[in-house]
């Protein structure tokens, strides 16, 4: 869960940028990445983001953990494309039971796909590392995302940490009472843990509502206000986006 609370240098120029501009630029880069069919652009985005992670000194372990799932999935897809998709055969092996054929065009497609996944993930990681969650939420309300949806996200984000502490306490106490000692017991212990968390969620929701009502809650939550856009930031982001388009067209 330490992944939710990044520990790194927060003095980079991107931290001071308006969150709305960062979201727009990130989505724009993401659209360009997923609509590009080649190696150069995703590699460039990946290098840019990696340089950013190095400059803000994100621990290597954090980055590796975040990339673990995309890396796994891109490897599976690369193999699927290599062996099961394509026309131009690269090699063929008779494996007694079946013939394994590797396709050149399938391999290239798989590699492009893998790079697209890694560069897409790096854009989102860069956005998340440079913007606090509350600012992202406030910006989403500016983009007219339904307030109810954002409110739910705020509650969720706030209570992940509270419920996680509860989960750790329950888990430790289960372990002390020989929970998770065999497969069958593990299943029963896990169900009890989840069930108890749901009961705790009900109880917390009642207490939270009472506490919020005492502070004037009427069903609507206030969000952070927005300052005016800064000219410098707009110009910088427009120049950056134009540069991206030019590189995308290469």
């Amino acid at each position: 869960m330490h992944l939710l609370l990044g520990e790194f240098k927060k003095e980079h120029i991107l931290f001071s940028f308006d969150a709305r501009i960062k979201i727009l630029v990130s989505i724009f880069s993401l659209i360009l990445t997923i609509s590009y069919n080649g190696f150069i652009f995703p590699l460039l985005i990946l290098s840019l983001c990696t340089a950013y992670f190095i400059s803000i000194r994100v621990p290597l372990r954090t980055i590796l953990i975040r990339y673990s799932e995309p890396l796994f999935i891109s490897s599976v897809l690369l193999l699927l494309k290599f062996f099961f998709s394509g026309k131009e055969s690269l090699f063929s092996l008779d494996l007694k039971l079946f013939t394994l054929v590797g396709y050149k065009d399938g391999f290239i497609d798989g590699l492009i796909l893998a790079l697209r996944i890694l560069s897409g993930v790096s854009i989102i990681i860069a956005l998340e590392l440079s913007t606090p969650f509350t600012e992202i939420m406030a910006s989403l309300s500016w983009f007219r995302i339904p307030k109810t949806f954002i409110e739910i996200m705020m509650f969720t984000y706030r209570y992940i940490f509270v419920l996680l502490e509860d989960a750790i306490v329950i888990y430790n106490s289960q372990k002390n009472r020989l929970g998770y000692s065999s497969f069958k017991v593990s299943l029963s212990s896990f169900s009890t843990l989840v069930g108890t968390l749901i009961i705790k969620a009900f109880d917390h929701s009642q207490k939270t509502t009472t506490a919020m009502m005492l502070r004037g809650y009427d069903g609507k939550m206030p969000f952070l206000g927005h300052s005016k856009f800064k000219k410098k930031e707009i110009i910088a982001s427009v120049v950056f986006m134009i540069a991206l388009i030019l590189l995308w067209k290469i």
Partner: protein
Amino acid sequence: MKICNVKTKYVASRIFHKLFLGRSEVIIITFVVIFLSLSITSDAFAMHIAEGILPLKWALIWYGVAIPFISYGIWKLKTKAKIDLSFKPLVGLLAAVVFIISCMPVPVPTAGTCSHPAGTGITAIILGPAISSVVASVALFIQALFLAHGGISTLGANIVSMGIIGSIAGYAAFRFLQTFRAPLFISGFFAGLLADWATYLMTSFELAAGIRGDSPLFDLMIQIIIAFMPTQIPLGILEGLMTAGVVVLLYKKRPDLLVKLMVLKQREVKI
């Protein structure tokens, strides 16, 4: 003696070649074993489509499919929140529970790996499919942002498979079995199982449609289904057992909550 040695070696190598595999086959098998070992050491995050997999066209199509369902879910949530002010915090907290349980690794014995439950079955039973899809989309958004599970460009597709199809399948299974007065454990089990398997099948379809290129859609879908089968078949069963366990626990410990959320009727529980 020397000739004999050479002959023996030759015969031995022929026998070895007939009985065992050639060098190229050994290389391929080694490669597959290394790949599988690498996959086994990491969690099998099977059923979230990662960022960047889907081309723009398919990413937009799945967003288009998800938006009406999520809008309906939000409308329903708002209506319920007008009557009960604690409903929004409750939904937010349940989304936090879904987020936490989907971060918990569950051992999958047949695949020799770890995976995680989706939690859609239980939220579909408690909140109904419409609000459950909102819960899933919140959990998916936070996972995509902070843990790189799933993605922002693939959020629409993930909402459709896990949030919408998973919730509908889980809720339909639970309600169907409850109309026949099946034991709560059985109804809960099939709700969890079908929610998971429906998500798995839908994700396979979305993946196949998104990455197929010139390949036939159905063939690629079958290959994806087979690729994730060792994880998803046992995981569905485990999710079913977990959902059943949770429903029974709620029934025993806090039946009032099940009545309040209209999962069971007053006459069905002993308070």
